[in-house]
């Protein structure tokens, strides 16, 4: 049901029956290693290309989520997935393996919450009983496509971010145990004219702020409603900017509540510059870490705002600025 200007409230409260997070070795050495269902020791996964490995990450995340849900694959009506590759090949190829009717979505790194919002809408409206939503990214394939070859010795500035190698998936159902998806706010494309692809956090921060404000306005809620408000992958630079912009707009989020997935996933000593990024970042942290905390009872209500930079390597070379988007999904545990 439409609430306010750009939000949905899910009256039937679709449940996240199961979720899974799969990560690579670097993520396994990170802060949230215990929240991953599978940690692969090798970024190649026995494949001969990074792109194929990324697909396997997505497949593993989906298979794991389906097994954990206890629902037969045939009973899942739709599969929604997104990634960062050209023509979202990882998602489409994973869909080929899964054999579930499929929507490919692209919202760059916001695909994770875009998928979850749409999946919940489908379940809420009765268009499906069970939907699986997934998103994934691979550090090396992303570097290869968006920046330089992985072995290239270009020095990265401190504003750069580290794309997460991993994937997350969630099975959303019309009934069942688990955290409930209660609402979503769909973001607008915001472009503040920044052009530096090594500073995505700063480019995405205004989009996150816009969606956060829209969410609280549409639902007429206060930030105190949530236990955690987490942005997807703003990193250190973007997160600081977002805090400042929110304060300027008169919305003070306490720092112990306002987190960023990109700042949570890795350890401080890991050389990730400003923090983690990619579809896999918000997907693994939400579907792994946050949902685990909710099941343990440490969190009751969370708002995840996945941020995405909608540029391509070509648009950047053609001197276009970086348009950004953010989608927010609220997940609540009912006790």
């Amino acid at each position: 049901m439409l609430v306010g200007h750009q939000s949905w409230q899910f009256k039937t409260k679709p449940a996240i029956i199961s979720s899974s997070a799969v990560g690579g070795p670097f993520e396994g050495a990170g802060e949230l290693a215990q929240d991953f269902d599978i940690i692969h020791k090798d970024i190649w996964l026995g494949q001969d290309s990074f792109e194929k490995a990324e697909k396997i990450f997505l497949e593993h995340a989906c298979e794991r989520a389906i097994v954990k849900s206890g629902i037969k694959k045939e009973d899942i009506h739709f599969f929604l997935s997104g990634d960062l590759m050209n023509q979202i090949i990882s998602s489409s190829f994973a869909a080929r393996t899964l054999g579930i009717p499929y929507f490919g979505i692209f919202g760059a790194c916001s695909s994770s919450m875009e998928g979850l919002a749409l999946a919940s809408l489908m379940v809420d409206s009765g268009a499906a009983k069970y939907v699986i939503a997934a998103a994934g990214s691979h550090n090396a394939s992303t570097e290869k496509q968006y920046r330089y070859p992985t072995g290239y010795g270009g020095q990265k500035p401190p504003t750069a971010q580290w794309t997460v190698t991993g994937a997350g998936a969630a099975v959303i159902g019309y009934k069942g145990e688990g955290p409930k998806v209660t609402g979503a706010t769909i973001g607008k494309v915001i472009d503040m004219g920044l052009t530096d692809p090594f500073n995505m956090g700063a480019a995405m921060a205004p989009a996150a702020v816009d969606t956060i404000e829209a969410h609280f306005r549409d639902f007429n809620r206060d930030p105190s409603y949530y236990d955690i408000i987490a942005t997807g992958d703003l990193g250190k630079v973007g997160h600081e900017i977002a805090v400042e912009l929110l304060i300027k707009d008169g919305l003070k989020l306490p720092l112990e509540k306002f987190k960023d997935c990109g700042l949570l996933i890795y350890k401080k000593e890991q050389p990730v510059f400003a923090g983690g990024s990619g579809c896999g970042c918000s997907a693994t942290v939400t579907y792994g870490h946050f949902l685990n905390l909710m099941k343990k009872g440490e969190l009751n209500r969370i708002l995840v705002i996945a941020t995405g930079a909608l540029m391509s390597p070509m648009s950047f070379q053609q001197k276009e600025s970086i348009p950004c988007i953010a989608h927010a999904v609220s997940i609540e545990m009912e006790r």
């Binding site: 010795g153 270009g154 472009d191 630079v237 912009l245 300027k248």
Partner: protein, 184 residues
């Protein structure tokens, strides 16, 4: 700061806010006009950007670049004294050895880690050029030898070769012209 949009008189947090539609004109750099809000935001973003450690980068570049050049000097000395090369001819095997070392380090995935620390120190010497070719060749092997390795090998180094050759041509033309006029 208002980066905000939508409709008038929305109640938010008990207060009324007037929010205007802010269209952003998108086009290329020449014609792009940043709105005042975008300009203001650029300043904010600039202020939050961690500074590049320029001084320590320069010191590191000096050290690593110097070490590579010293190594090259040592190799040249070795080729002159033990392999009967002259000072002029020794430069070829010297570069070849440095290139092989650079390619090996790239292949083992070590070069980019050194380069992150060393910056221009590893980028400027011939090792950086070798690394740009080797890394692209290795990366695109998955697309096959012809279209992958062959087609992408000079992805990064290609422009160096193109503009290197072109500027050599321009300099040669200038030199010939000066000579023709009656200069040196």
């Amino acid at each position: 700061m208002k980066i905000r949009i939508i409709c008038n008189n929305i109640v938010y947090g008990g207060r009324k806010k007037n929010i205007r539609i802010e269209g952003v004109k998108m086009s290329n750099k020449k014609t792009r006009e940043l709105t005042p809000i975008q300009i203001k935001y650029k300043d904010i973003a600039k202020g939050k950007e961690p500074k590049r450690p320029v001084v320590s980068n320069c010191i590191r570049a000096f050290l690593v670049g110097g070490i590579i050049c010293t190594l090259g000097q040592g190799l040249q000395w070795m080729f002159i004294n033990y392999f009967n090369f002259t000072e002029k001819t020794a430069s070829s095997p010297t570069s070849a050895v440095l290139i092989i070392l650079s390619v090996l380090l790239t292949g083992f995935g070590i070069y980019d880690h050194i380069a992150q620390w060393a910056g221009a120190g590893t980028a400027i010497p011939v090792t950086g050029f070798a690394n740009s070719i080797a890394s692209a060749a290795i990366e695109h092997k998955s697309e096959g030898y012809v279209l992958g390795v062959g087609g992408n090998m000079f992805k990064l180094a290609g422009s160096v070769i193109v503009f290197g050759a072109f500027s050599a041509f321009v300099v040669a033309v200038i030199k010939i012209t000066i000579k023709w006029i009656g200069g040196y």
